[in-house]
Amino acid sequence: MFARGLKRKYGDQEEGVEGFGTVPSYCLQRQSLLDMSLVKLQLCHMLVEPNLCRSVLIANTVRQIQEEMSRDGVWHGMAPQNVEQRAPIDRLVSTEILCRTARGTDGEHPTPELEDDPLQSSASELPIVSSAQGQRNPQSSLWEMDNPQENRGSFQKSLDQIFETLENKSPSSVEELFSDVDSSYYDLDTVLTGMMSGTKPSLCNGLESFAAAPPPPSSTCKSDLAELDHVVEILVET
C-alpha cells in the first residue's frame, strides 16, 4: 500500500525478479507513476485554460518523484532536466494559441521569459523536450491534433501509444535496475496492480514481456529516461 509505510526488503525484490510478471518493482511502479503524471500534465496543457491548482499539484508530484530518483542515483544529469521540468509551471497558463504556435517551431527553447501577465507568457515548448525535433517518430502524426476537444477524445489511444513505446525499453540487466532502488518507506505493492487492472492493458503486456525482450544498447534506468524523453517529445509535437 502506498501509504502504509511498509518497507520492501531487497529480498522481496529478488523474488519479484523471478516471478516478474506478477510483482512489479518499486522502480517500475515509480516510473509508471511518473509517466502517468507527465501525461496528465500534457493534458492540462492541452486545455484552453488549465486548472492551475491541479497542474501545480501534479507538477509537484512529478518533482517529488524526480527528486527521489535522483537521490537513488537513477536519474543522472538531473539538474538540467530539473530546470526543464519546472518549465511546465509557466506552461500552466499558456493559451491554446500559444500551444499551436509552439508546435511548429523547434523544440529547443530556453527558459521562457515571463511577462507580468502569465496568461500571455511562455511561448516555449513543453519542458521535457531536450533535443531537436528533427527526427520524428512516424507515429507523431497521430499527435498533431487541431483542437483540445479532439485531444481529449483520442487520449486513450495516445496513452496506449505511450505505453507501447515504453514497452520497448528493457534493460539488459534487470539486477542493475533493482540495485539502484533504495530501501525506502514507500510500499507500492498494489499500486501498479490497481492500475493494470484498469484501462491500460498495454502496460501490463509491456511489463510481462519485460524480461523477455531483447536488451537495448544502454541498459540502465537512465536509458529508460532517455526513452521517456523521446516519448514525451512525441507528445509534445502537438
Binding site: G5, R30, V48, C53, L57, V191, G194
Partner: protein, 452 residues
C-alpha cells in the same frame, strides 16, 4: 422544533433520526460533466436555499404558511430561477470564459428583498431577488399596455393606484464586478460589516465594496515573480464571522493563513499560520495532493474553523496553530486506492463541509452519494446515503457502512463497489433548525429530523 431559537438546537447529529423530506431536480436527467447541483443556505435565517446547476441558479424558499406550525415544517419550493452568467469571450487571450458558476453567497437580509453574490471563473455578480405582488394601474402618460399616450388626449389627471397581482419573483443583476481576476475565482465571502466582500482566485485575493464595481483592492498576492517557482495556490478563503478585519485562506499544501487587514494593506504576511506536521509513516507521493484543502469554514461562534482535505475534516482552534484540535476521517478506506483515484482524477475532487447551527456537529460528503456527519461532543459519526431508493416521505435514513476488507456483512458495501461518479461535494445545514440539504449529482435532497 418549529420556531426554535438559537439555543434550541439539540447537540449532535446522531441524536437525530434523519428522515427524508424532499428531493428536487430531474429524475433521470443525464448530467453533463462538471455540472453539479450545489447549494448554499442563507446562513442568516435558512429560509432561502440556493441550488445551482451549471449556470442556472434556483432559489428555494420555505413557504411562510407552513412555518411556525407545530409538528410541521415548511417545504422548500422553487422561489426563483434564473441564469446568472453568460458565456463570454476574452478577446485579448482568445479564451472562452465559461458561464459555469463556482460559488454563491447570500447577503444578510436588510429589507424585503434578498441579495446574493454569484461568481463564475472571472466575474462576480450581485443579484437582487424581490417579490412583486402589486401592480400600479392608472398611469396618466402611459396606456395600460405601456404605450405612451398622446399628450393632447389627456384631459384629466388621476393618481395611479396599486392593485394586487399574482406573486412574481424577479431576479435582477444589480452589480457586476468584473476584470479583477486573472486566474479562476474559487471563493467569495461576505464580510460581517455587510459592506465588503472578498473574492479569491488561485493566486490573489481581492477586497470589494458591494457598492463599488470599478475598483477592488488586492489584499493577498502569492504569485511568484518567476512562475516557474510556483508550487502552491490558494484554494479557499473566508472572512471571520464577527471580526471584520480577519480572514483566512487555505492552500494546496494543506496550510491555512489567518490575516489581519489592520496590519497592512497587502496581507502577504500572515498573522497566524496553521499547519499540521506531517506524519512520516504515512508519507507517499500522494501526500501533498491529499493534504490540499478544498474548503475552509469558520464555526458560527468564530472560535474554530474547519478544513476539508481529501480524506479528512479537521477542526482548528484559532488560538492553536500547531495542529488541529480534532481530525475526523471521512473515508480512510480510500487511502489504499489513492493511485487509482489519482489516475481517474477523483483525487482532485473538491469536497465542502459545513457546521450545524450550534457548532456541535459537522457534515461533509463522500462518494457513492454517501455523506458523513460527526458529532463533536459524543465523538460519534454516521454515514448516510442520498438516493432515490431511500426517498419515501418521512422514511428514516439507515446508516451505511463500507466494508474495508475481509468478509462483507449484509448491507455493507465494499470499497470496490463504490460509485465514484456519484459524489456529494456540497452539503448544507440549516443554521437554526434540524434540516439538512445535500446535493447529489443533479438532485437536491432535503432531510429533516423526525424526533422533534
Amino acid at each position: 422544533m418549529a420556531g426554535a431559537g438559537g439555543g434550541g438546537c439539540p447537540a449532535g447529529g446522531n441524536d437525530f433520526q434523519w428522515c427524508f423530506s424532499q428531493v428536487k431536480g430531474a429524475v433521470d436527467e443525464d448530467v453533463a460533466e462538471g455540472e453539479v447541483l450545489s447549494l448554499v443556505p442563507s446562513k442568516y435565517n435558512g429560509d432561502q436555499m440556493t441550488g445551482w446547476y451549471g449556470h442556472r441558479i434556483t432559489v428555494y424558499h420555505v413557504s411562510l404558511q407552513n412555518k411556525g406550525r407545530a409538528h410541521s415544517r415548511g417545504e422548500y419550493n422553487v422561489y426563483s430561477t434564473f441564469q446568472s452568467h453568460e458565456p463570454e469571450f476574452d478577446y485579448l487571450k482568445s479564451l472562452e470564459i465559461e458561464e459555469k458558476i463556482n460559488k454563491i453567497r447570500w447577503l444578510p437580509q436588510q429589507n424585503a428583498a434578498h441579495f446574493l453574490l454569484s461568481t463564475n471563473d472571472k466575474t462576480i455578480k450581485l443579484w437582487k431577488i424581490s417579490e412583486r405582488d402589486k401592480r400600479a394601474e392608472g398611469y396618466n402618460l402611459k396606456d395600460e399596455d405601456g404605450r405612451l399616450r398622446d399628450p393632447f388626449r389627456i384631459t384629466a389627471l388621476r393618481v395611479p393606484i396599486l392593485k394586487p397581482m399574482d406573486l412574481m419573483v424577479e431576479a435582477s443583476p444589480r452589480r457586476i464586478f468584473a476584470n479583477a481576476h486573472t486566474y479562476h475565482i474559487n471563493s467569495i465571502s461576505v464580510n460581517s460589516d455587510h459592506e465588503t466582500y472578498l473574492s479569491a482566485d488561485d493566486l490573489r485575493i481581492n477586497l470589494w465594496h458591494l457598492e463599488i464595481t470599478n475598483r477592488s483592492f488586492n489584499i493577498v498576492d502569492i504569485k511568484p515573480a518567476n512562475m516557474e517557482e510556483l508550487t502552491e495556490v490558494i484554494t479557499a478563503a473566508e472572512f471571520h464571522p464577527h471580526q471584520c478585519n480577519v480572514f483566512v485562506y487555505s492552500s494546496s499544501k494543506g496550510t491555512i493563513r489567518l490575516c489581519d487587514m489592520r496590519s497592512s494593506a497587502l496581507c502577504d504576511r500572515h498573522a497566524k499560520f496553521f499547519e499540521e506536521p506531517e506524519d512520516p509513516s504515512s508519507r507517499s507521493f500522494f501526500s501533498e495532493i491529499i493534504s490540499s484543502i478544498s474548503d475552509v469554514k469558520f464555526s458560527h461562534s468564530g472560535r474554530y474553523m474547519m478544513t476539508r482535505d481529501y480524506l479528512s475534516v479537521k477542526v482548528w482552534d484559532l488560538n492553536m496553530e500547531g495542529r488541529p484540535v480534532e481530525t475526523h476521517q471521512v473515508h480512510e478506506y480510500l487511502r489504499s486506492k489513492l493511485c487509482s483515484l489519482y489516475e481517474n482524477d477523483c483525487i482532485f475532487d473538491k469536497f465542502e463541509c459545513c457546521w450545524n447551527g450550534s457548532d456541535s456537529a459537522i457534515m461533509t460528503g463522500s462518494y457513492n452519494n454517501f455523506f458523513r456527519m460527526f458529532d463533536r461532543n459524543t465523538r460519534r459519526d454516521v454515514t448516510l446515503e442520498a438516493s432515490r431508493e431511500n426517498s419515501k416521505p418521512r422514511a428514516s435514513l439507515k446508516p451505511r457502512k463500507v466494508c474495508t476488507g475481509g468478509k462483507r456483512k449484509k448491507d455493507e458495501i465494499s470499497v470496490d463497489s463504490l460509485d465514484f461518479n456519484k459524489k456529494i461535494l456540497h452539503t448544507a445545514w440549516h443554521p437554526m433548525e434540524s434540516i439538512i440539504a445535500v446535493a447529489a449529482t443533479n438532485n437536491l435532497y432535503i432531510f429533516q429530523d423526525k424526533i422533534n
